[in-house]
């Protein structure tokens, strides 16, 4: 057995050029062959690469798509994110458990099917959804499940299922990202300008990063260009993992050329020869098409040597697959993952523009930002900055989902108000709006007159609508539970704090909370926010902190009294003992 695959593994490692930094590709290939990563396989990889076993495990044990234990022939990953559960994922889960005969987190006895939960897979607009293998299935109804399971057991390919359809769901295309484009137009303009001229034009357009932080793109490129290094790199961040976001999915489906165009322009501007697109593991199904587009561009001379005829401008793009980790969207964690390591963020400074991929100057940009950059070069800064507001120029893609009849992607000008958005998606009666996903803020109707922009309501694009009957606080608790799953665990405040926040929040939701518990939540939330090492921990308490502020009446309604109620349940703790001794563990109600 070991000999069988040691050869296979040696071959895979050999193909990678015995390059440790390609550990992700090596491990993914081995995983694809064996279905999991047994200790023997780790041993073979370790030896072939000259690494320590613990170093290989350090990486493989980090990613949720890499299994250490044997899996079924088909792995069903049902998305249990908040929007999915709003749309009935729990009932679908029950149907799967019944049809397969085992609970989630396990494999059927015949070894045919494994059931797992997974975080947001970028399909909230067509929830409930799942990945079967790497194939997305959408709009699953509980009544579909027996037939799906039967087909999979019968050896059918997941792609042959009637539910294996992804709607584009582009509800409102706009002029920047989704207008028709001519391949190469932006690059040809760029290479006729000097790199500084390209950056100057981007600067004039005042475009800011669309990935969340809103850093001025021209400044980032300029820092990167001026930083000394043996090589410079452009990285396109396509890790899109914020629950409720799916706009990058739509861009990568509809406008991949524009993305690669933007990466190439960025490469020219900062002096890079290599671009890397980091694609989240959940989007593996987009990979074949993206590779095709890259091949096409190479054949047209838009990648490779002398790009678009510009003597000496060499640039190519490689796609790096991820393996299931939200934190890899954070730019320094993304770089670690690109280097074949666990996705743990780095301490800054140094910033990626100084020391990024392979410790060389690197510009990490969001998919949408790169599209905007390409358009600015193609159509000019003036055209671009005429849209939007003074400090937020251009358009923004919104991924809207939740309690609304028209979920999907909308390209809107910055400045649009929440009210207007709700009208657009047919949800004027919304009780609350989650702006920017779990890491953003939960808005009450009093804020619906405010506008989307960097100076007011900043968002990476995720907008989740909560209707009048929705239990908003329960959704907030689920958001925090998402952060528990996705915390990288590097630093104490986030690793421990997220778990504590959810535990204390549950106590309140279970009707066992007091005023003191709310104060404790506030204190703990502030500690996690202030003391955590990266953006994940720094925003993980937002669901609780922003609702404590905007929805205090919802909390008050959950609180029983001002008395102290212990989180420790004595009767429950005594239960096992009581069962063994055959006595009852009913304690007298006592009052403090």
């Amino acid at each position: 057995m070991v000999e069988d695959y040691s050869q296979v593994i040696d071959q895979i490692v050999e193909q990678s050029g015995k390059d440790r930094s390609r550990l992700m590709d090596i491990v993914r290939a081995v995983h694809a062959k064996l279905g999991y990563l047994p200790e023997e396989a780790i041993g073979c990889i370790q030896q072939a690469l000259g690494m320590h076993r613990v170093e290989v495990r350090d990486m493989t044990s980090f990613y949720s798509f890499l299994s250490q234990a044997p899996k079924g022939k088909t792995v069903v990953r049902l998305c249990d994110a908040v929007v999915e559960r709003m749309k009935g994922a729990d009932e679908v889960a029950k149907a799967f458990e019944e049809a397969v005969g085992v609970p989630f987190g396990s494999t059927s006895e015949d070894g045919s099917i494994s059931l797992d939960y997974t975080a947001c897979i970028g399909l909230s607009d067509q929830a409930p959804g799942a990945l079967i293998g790497s194939v997305p299935v959408t709009h699953i109804k509980p009544s579909d499940v027996p037939r799906i399971v039967e087909a999979l057991r019968g050896g059918a390919e997941a792609s042959s299922l009637p539910q294996a359809v992804v709607d584009v769901n582009l509800r409102q295309p706009g002029p920047v990202v989704f207008a028709p484009m001519e391949r190469g137009a932006a690059i040809r303009k760029a290479v006729n300008m000097a790199p500084a001229g390209v950056i100057g034009e981007i600067n004039k357009a005042r475009v800011r990063g669309r990935g969340g932080a809103g850093f001025p793109t021209a400044m980032k490129w300029d820092f990167c260009r001026k930083a000394e290094g043996n090589a410079h790199y452009v990285v396109c961040n396509a890790d899109e993992g914020e629950p409720g976001t799916f706009k990058d999915r739509v861009i990568l489906t509809e406008q991949p050329d524009l993305v690669f165009e933007g990466m190439t322009v960025a490469g020219f501007a900062i002096g890079a020869e290599e671009g890397l697109l980091y694609l989240r593991g959940e989007y593996e199904y987009l990979l074949p098409h993206l590779e095709q587009v890259l091949a096409k561009r190479r054949s047209l001379g838009m990648l490779g040597q002398n790009v678009c005829g510009r003597e000496g401008f060499r640039f190519d793009i490689r796609i790096q697959m991820g393996a299931g980790a939200y934190i890899c969207g954070e730019e320094s964690a993304l770089i670690e993952s690109l280097e074949g390591k666990r996705g743990a963020p780095r301490d800054r400074p140094p910033f990626p523009v100084q020391k990024g991929y392979k410790n060389e100057p690197t510009s990490v940009n969001n998919v949408e930002t790169l599209c905007a950059a390409a358009r600015i070069i193609e159509k000019g800064a003036e055209w671009f900055s005429a849209m939007g507001t003074k400090d937020s120029t251009g358009t923004k893609l919104l991924s809207i989902s939740g309690d609304c009849p028209h979920p999907g992607v909308y390209e809107v000008e910055y400045g649009i108000t929440v009210d207007k958005i709700l009208e657009m998606v047919g949800a004027a009666d919304a009780q609350a709006v989650q702006m920017g996903g779990p890491s953003g803020q939960c808005l009450a109707p009093k804020d619906f007159g405010r506008g989307i922009s960097f100076e007011d309501l900043s968002t990476g694009g995720s907008i989740i609508v909560f209707g009048p009957d929705r239990d908003v606080l329960d959704c907030m608790c689920q958001f925090v539970e998402f952060f528990i799953e996705e915390s990288c665990g590097w630093c104490a405040p986030c690793r421990v704090g997220t778990t504590l926040l959810a535990k204390m929040m549950r106590k309140v939701l279970d009707g066992k909370g007091t005023k003191a518990d709310l104060d404790a939540l506030r204190k703990l939330g502030t500690t996690v926010k202030t003391m955590s090492r990266c953006g994940l921990g720094q925003t993980a308490a937002n669901p609780i902190l922003t609702t404590l502020q905007n929805f205090s009446s919802l909390y008050d309604a959950r609180i029983k009294s001002d008395e102290f109620i212990p989180s420790f349940d004595l009767s429950k703790a005594l239960q096992l003992g009581a069962e063994i001794t055959g006595r009852t563990a009913e304690l007298e109600e006592h009052h403090v």
């Binding site: 320590h52 170093e55 350090d58 301490d347 665990g489 104490a492 703990l524």
Partner: protein, 237 residues
């Protein structure tokens, strides 16, 4: 003092730093103690515990990793920051399984000592008691992961000082663990009791066997003076 010496302000006190120094190194040299758990003078910083968080020009940053830059205004020993630090220490207490009176490290333990120094009298956060494996397979060294604060000192020391890479991490989030370079357990690794990694654990997690009670309780490092006193006295003296 070289020409490009940097001046920074910590809690209103101007101190000198050399270029390339972190805020913590500069503070240490000036006899100002900034609490720390994962940081260790013989190792590069890890940035794990965040107990060393200070405010640099109003923004939180870890002193063990953040470079000293001319003109920084730093807050460290304030009520606000010490309260935040205390809560982080409290989190580490409730994360693991810490029953000090039964622990060999009591009195020498930096987690315990930080609790005292920062005024942590009792824990209010609910206990998590995350279940974690113990490894007593090695003849000279054991790991009681219930007391691990995931400071990464053993990982860095084994790799960078001992050149062995006996330790690493496994898993993520609250499931993160210290792992060993073996299929099963520590006894299969190159670990030796004389390794730097064997004596660098701030808590009672990674312990050399048979030495625990050599110094009686009451006469241990932090029984007589609070953690950080050495740094404060060094400069005073």
């Amino acid at each position: 003092m070289s020409e490009d010496t940097i001046t920074i302000l910590i809690d209103g006190k101007a101190i000198q730093a050399e270029p390339g120094q972190t805020i913590m190194q500069a503070a240490d040299a000036a006899g100002l103690y900034i609490p720390r758990l994962c940081g260790h003078k013989d190792l590069p910083p890890g940035g794990h515990c965040r107990v060393c968080t200070v405010k640099v020009n109003g923004r939180p940053a870890s002193a063990c990793t953040f470079p000293a830059v001319e003109g920084q205004v730093i807050e460290s020993d304030t009520d606000e920051i010490n309260t935040l630090r205390r809560t982080v220490i409290e989190m580490l207490f409730v994360e693991g399984n810490h029953t000090c009176p039964a622990c060999e490290a009591s009195g020498n333990c930096e987690l315990q000592a930080l609790g005292y120094r920062l005024g942590l009298v009792a824990t209010e956060l609910p206990y998590l008691n995350v279940p974690r494996e113990m490894d007593a397979s090695h003849k000279d060294v054991y790991i009681d992961r219930g007391r691990c604060v995931l400071c990464g000192r053993c990982v860095r020391a084994s790799k960078l000082v001992d050149g062995k890479t006996v330790f690493g991490f496994a898993g993520r989030g609250i499931g993160k663990r210290v792992a060993v370079d073996a299929e099963h357990a520590l006894s299969e690794t190159a670990m030796s009791a004389t390794d730097k990694a064997a004596s660098i654990c701030p808590t009672g997690c990674l312990v050399v066997k048979g030495k625990g009670w050599a110094t009686p309780v009451g006469k241990r490092d932090y029984d007589t003076m609070p953690i950080g006193s050495d740094i404060e006295q060094q400069a005073a003296g």
